[in-house]
């Protein structure tokens, strides 16, 4: 995974709460068997409206999404993260993320930073004052800036470390393979097995 440190790019204000993963990518686009090629599906329903924020010319090429609370609720589809990433987003800032979405993001190199609702409002105001302005998301310093407005954001230490190091979770876990094997040796006989089929 690519290492993440400082992300600078156009910031998009998505002034909606409860942006569920069905909005980020509707189910009909989940039929691909690859991890790429989802950019056209991102926000497919909302994008039919030419006035929808990411359609506007000043926000083309954006890399930072600043959204209302409860972003990424609903379905576990990691396609939501792939679609955001394919479209060009590198960071999402919101007052609250759904757990599964946040976990999926961390494993795919998409930074998710949490700020307060008031801070999101202030970031939106800073963008509204200067549409197309860059945001800077500094993972090392844990800050997000738009123009003169800078706030600290929350991200858990472990996810931050993995993002900054670009680490692959599976390789990390396989270092513990001996302990996994030992644990399996203690597994009770009543616990389920799918094979042989009964």
């Amino acid at each position: 995974m690519e290492k993440v440190s400082v992300i600078t790019g156009t910031a998009v204000p998505l002034k909606r709460s409860n942006v569920d993963t069905d909005q980020i990518i509707p189910a009909v686009f989940l039929k691909r068997v690859t991890k790429t090629g989802f950019d056209d599906a991102l926000f497919h329903g909302w994008r039919q409206d030419p006035e929808f924020v990411i359609n506007r010319p000043e926000f083309q090429g954006a890399t930072v999404l600043i959204a209302g609370p409860d972003f990424g609720t609903g379905s576990s589809r990691e396609h939501a993260v792939w679609a955001l990433r394919d479209f060009g987003f590198r960071a999402v800032i919101s007052p609250r993320f759904a757990d599964i979405f946040r976990g999926n993001s961390g494993k795919q190199g998409l930074l998710t930073g949490t700020v307060t609702e008031e801070q999101v409002e202030a970031l939106w105001a800073a963008i509204d004052a200067n549409p197309g302005v860059d945001a800077t998301v500094d993972l090392e310093a844990r800050t997000v800036s738009v123009g003169d407005v800078t706030f600290p954001f929350d991200i858990d230490d472990y996810t931050r470390w993995r993002l900054m190091e670009g680490l692959d979770d599976i390789a990390l876990t396989l270092r513990e393979e001996q302990k996994i094997t030992e644990f399996e040796g203690t597994r009770a006989a009543w616990r389920p097995t799918t094979l042989p089929a009964r």
Binding site: R16, S17, N18, D20, D22, Q23, P26, A27, V28, L30, K31, R32, V33, T34, K35, G45, G68, P69, D70, T73, G74, S75, S76, R77, E78, H79, V81, R96, F97, A98, D99, I100, G103, N104, K107, Q108, E117, D156, D157, Y158, D169, I170, T173, L174, E176, K179, I180, F183, E184, R187, A188, A189, W190, R191, P192, T193, T194, L195, A197, R198
Partner: protein
Amino acid sequence: MSTETPSAERSAASAAAPRTLAEKVWADHVVVAGENGEPDLIYIDLHLVHEVTSPQAFDGLRQASRQLRRPDLTIATEDHNTPTLAIDRPIADPTSRIQIETLRKNAEEFGVRIHSLGDVEQGIVHVVGPQLGLTMPGITVVCGDSHTSTHGAFGAMAFGIGTSEVEHVMATQTLPLKPFKTMAITVEGELRPGVTAKDIILAVIAKIGTGGGQGYVLEYRGSAIRSLSMDGRMTICNMSIEAGARAGMVAPDQTTYDYLKGRAHAPEGQDWDDAVAYWETLKSDDDAVFDAEVFLDANELEPFVTWGTNPGQGVSLSEPVPDPAQIADPNARAAAERALEYMDLEAGTPMKDIPVDAVFMGSCTNSRIEDLRAFASIIQGQKKADGVRVMVVPGSARVRLEAEAEGIDKIVEAFGAEWRFAGCSMCLGMNPDQLAPGERCASTSNRNFEGRQGKGGRTHLVSPLVAAATAIRGTLSSPWDLAQDGGDAVSPVTPSTEEVAV
């Protein structure tokens, strides 16, 4: 105790401390305890796989030349994409067909047991696990599907994961996880006839909101939960994710054991006795401390229905569409305004005056045999309302056969509804079962998101009983309304008056 410290960490610090059900199951699966803020490495007992979230994970294994560590703890079925008509014919949509064929090829290559279309065990992954007896108390269950929380009804720790985590479980049979906080949801009292598990969970979500459970595992407890069947408990745990919680649990009891005993993969003989002895320990200790607690009075509950575009936007069926102007929180108010516009509803309209175009009876929330029985008990001998499309989709091929043995298919067809083959179907409309733009549907599924059941479609989440009554009357209705119409098909539901419908 601080609410900042996840409770599993607290209990690790003091082994003798009273523990919740969730903490006990967690502790029994820690392979490596995380230090300095690192996650615990948690062992996974059962990995359920379906066609949509697995192809990229299998591909990842191949690219890294990794093996699937435990095919014997893995099982696959086809559900999200599958047609519910003409299942003996090739799947018409080429991208759906490729995804299904990819799952079959991957299952063969990696030695995964698979139940394909046409197999008696094929069906929605969350119906298949319990029906095979693979889902049991005290185990960890994951699946690349957020409704994996369903399996928590057995006292399992079960949660949805993304595709990266699917690959991780395939390669290691573990997941690195931070401990969840714990929330007790206590539902005391007795449900009135016509009020069901679905109404409980819709009311819970309306109360705590779609983000209320974020970071928590929910434990449902209290007399109203204890008196529910396993099918009812599964309905409740299924929708934990709609409150933002990855997992929901119910402590196992005799109801759980009676459901499991004799199922294909349930333990037998000495293993059964050992299992029950362990399962008996899986109760939250009397003095265990939850990080948060929520109470709900079952006696007061009415049939519930959503009016908006997230599952927290719900009211009792006897109420009107809420007025966004009355909502204090600006974000919630804006969301309500947007929702009413999308749903084409006016504040103040009685919910019961809202006509529907379609009724969907199915999904991993409500497609088990009891759900179908409940639906059939209301529609028996009736005709559906003119112009309303009614689709009944059993959760699995086995449920379908069981229902047919009871004559439910005949009741459904005589009513004028469609009796389909098993799958996720119109819950998410990945297959041809979709709403047309602007169509309004009373649905026993779990998500009323914009476009969820088809682009431009409008969804009201309801119980099977409400779905049935709505299909008869053509407007959002409960069996209580049928009684007032003078119908005699409302058994076992007692008549109600406006006074009763508080």
